[in-house]
Amino acid sequence: MSNISRDEVAHLAKLARLAVTEKELDVFAGQLDQILDAVAKVGEVAADDIPPTSHAVPLTNVFRADEIRPSLSQEQALSGAPAAEEGRFRVPRILGEEQ
């Protein structure tokens, strides 16, 4: 069911924001194809009547009271920033649009 193409891998890399090299594309295409072949095995037993499990613990309704907790200082917030300006994170120009 797999057979992932090199183009598909390129598309995935784009979706995942990975500027992979041409050489990597070749390697990853082969490896992903192999891995997908192996993991497709899950389809053998995943019958329609089996409910999916998303969480390992059967918890529900875990809520927090609407109470303010201390925030970081601006200095702490920006401490790891590659670049900062005017109390804000400085980033290269944004081309896309807000969703």
């Binding site: 069911m1 992932i4 598909e8 891998v9 995935l12 890399a13 784009k14 979706l15 995942a16 924001r17 990975l18 500027a19 992979v20 090299t21 990597e24 390697v27 990853f28 490896q31 992903l32 192999q34 891995i35 997908l36 192996a38 993991v39 497709a40 095995k41 899950v42 389809g43 053998e44 037993v45 995943a46 019958a47 089996i50 409910p51 999916p52 499990t53 998303s54 969480h55 390992a56 613990v57 918890l59 875990v62 927090r64 970081l72 702490q76 917030a77 401490s79 790891g80 920033a81 590659p82 670049a83 994170f89 980033v91 290269p92 120009r93 944004i94 081309l95 896309g96």
Partner: protein, 501 residues
């Protein structure tokens, strides 16, 4: 004076609390040991000499003033896996992406360790973002197995397991998503426990696969692991998946187990975890361990968990899917590495170029695999089906635990393989987690305890014990009983002193 680095945590704690030695002495002994041998092992990514000594002095000061120790392991040094945040102390997750990151906050585990007076020596090496079974995926070079430095120490927590085997620390913290505590413990002859999912807070544990990740104790003895378990476990309101229930009585269980009697305990041998792919020496070690459990009074039966063979493929869909989302935040905008910000590239380009430069091959592979598995059109066949397998595995466990108290299997199919042997063959690498993954998918508790050395290569083998969720104490009772019966192992490890890097 006895070599302090050879003592167990409970022995060290006893001496410190009786003020026969100081925590500073114990800490310095381990720092010296690290200075001496870590060049050959590479277990540590960062040694926090100042922080460790300050923590030790605090414990010594409190004891000198007549105060009770704040915990049973107050003053004992520990090695912390570099995937847990430490305020102001580097936290790299073995990745170039976080090379210079100093977290502005402590993980809950870190905080609990500090509050318990545990001395954090430093941060241990790991596969990048905990993805791997050999620690070869670290951006900072592989960790070497102290039993044989040509071999892997397991992964992802190879730094933690190696630090124990190399006597650089008596305690360590690991994290286990598919076996990253247990498999390293098995191949280094140490003890590692993956607690019940939700038993230990994940707040500050840099996520690989959120629904599977669980931090746990690593030690050279089952009792030490139990003492550490009680320090780090318990409900945390900062983690929504944290279980709001009392911590299972693991220390009591370990002490009970040390009496060496397993009468009345029913042990199930997982039928599916043997045969082809299992190293004969590992198989024989496992069979000997099962015989020993019988000798201790346990009733042993074979149990079939037919869906366990689907655990590995399910895991390699769920974990990459979650990781593709969890690792999206490493985008060069707010922290971490940024490359190509030269005014000619857009934010989007800088993101892609930085992620390309900052992540290693395995991380990229898994991100792409997960991106694929979650894509519309593929979701049902891959991620959706994997979630169903998860249900089936949980059902297998439930059925098994109706018949037995614990399940056992080898921890990993082989002993430590050679560095470089599997790096270019992801599927071969993934097989190392074959037996450990089911417990992660179902969220129950599991332990690896040394079961001696494989007769063909003289390398350590691990016995995996699995218990139902919230019954972590059973692991400790069975593990401790078996440990006593089997006898010590690490005194047979070759000496590292004088070994050059």
């Amino acid at each position: 004076m006895t070599d302090l680095t050879r003592l167990t945590a409970s022995e060290l704690a006893a001496k410190i609390h009786k003020q026969e030695i100081t925590s500073v002495e114990a800490t310095k002994a381990h720092l010296d040991r690290i200075a001496e041998v870590d060049g050959a092992v590479n277990a540590f990514l960062h040694v926090d000499t100042e922080g460790a000594l300050a923590a030790a002095r605090k414990v010594d000061g409190d004891l000198a003033e007549g105060r009770e120790p704040v915990s049973p392991i107050a003053g004992v040094p520990l090695a912390l896996k570099d995937v847990l945040t430490t305020k102001g102390v580097p936290t790299t997750c073995g990745s170039k992406t976080l090379e210079n990151w100093l977290p502005p906050y402590d993980a809950t585990v870190t905080r609990r360790l500090r509050e318990a007076g545990v001395v954090i020596l430093g941060k241990t090496n790991m596969d990048e973002f905990a993805m791997g079974s050999s620690t070869e995926n670290s951006a900072y070079g592989p960790t070497r197995n102290p039993w044989d430095r040509e071999r892997i120490p397991g992964g992802s927590g190879g730094g933690s397991s190696a630090s124990l085997a190399a006597f650089e620390a008596p305690l360590a913290i690991g994290t286990d998503t598919g076996g990253s505590i247990r498999q390293p413990a098995a191949v280094t002859g140490t003890v590692g426990v993956k607690p019940t999912y939700g038993g230990v807070s994940r707040y500050g544990l840099v996520a690989f696969s959120s629904s599977l990740d669980q931090a746990g104790p690593c030690a050279r003895s089952v009792l030490d692991a139990a003492l550490l378990h009680e320090v780090i476990a318990g409900h945390d309101p900062m983690d929504s998946t944290s279980i709001d229930a009392p911590v299972p009585p693991v220390v009591t269980a370990a002490r009970a187990g040390l009496k060496g009697d397993l009468t009345g305990v029913k042990v199930g041998v997982v039928a599916e975890f043997s045969g082809e792919g299992y190293q004969p020496g590992v198989q024989r070690s496992f069979e000997a361990a099962v015989a020993q459990l019988k000798d201790l009074g346990a009733e042993v039966v074979e149990v079939s968990c037919p869906n366990f063979t689907y655990a590995l493929p399910a895991y390699y869909l769920i974990a990459p899917s979650e990781c593709s989302s969890n690792l999206a935040r490493f985008d060069a905008m707010r922290y971490g590495l940024r490359v190509a910000d030269d005014g000619t590239h857009s934010a989007e380009e800088v993101m892609s170029l930085t992620r390309e430069a900052g992540f290693g091959a395995e991380v990229k592979r898994r991100i792409m695999l997960g991106t694929y598995a979650l894509s519309s059109g593929y979701y049902d066949a891959y991620y959706g089906s994997a979630q169903k397998v998860r249900t089936l595995i949980t059902r297998d466990f439930s059925a098994a635990f109706e018949k037995v108290d614990v399940l056992v299997s080898p921890t990993t199919p082989t002993t430590a393989f050679k560095i470089g042997e599997r790096v270019d063959d992801p599927l071969a690498m993934y097989l190392a987690d074959l037996c450990t993954i089911p417990a992660n998918l179902a969220g129950n508790a599991a332990m690896s305890v040394p079961s001696g050395l494989s007769d063909e290569d003289g390398l350590p083998v691990g016995l995996q014990i699995m218990a139902p969720a919230l019954a972590d104490d059973r692991l400790y009772r069975v593990g401790a009983a078996y440990e006593v019966a089997r006898g010590p192992l690490l005194d047979r490890i070759p000496e590292l002193k004088g070994v050059s890097a």
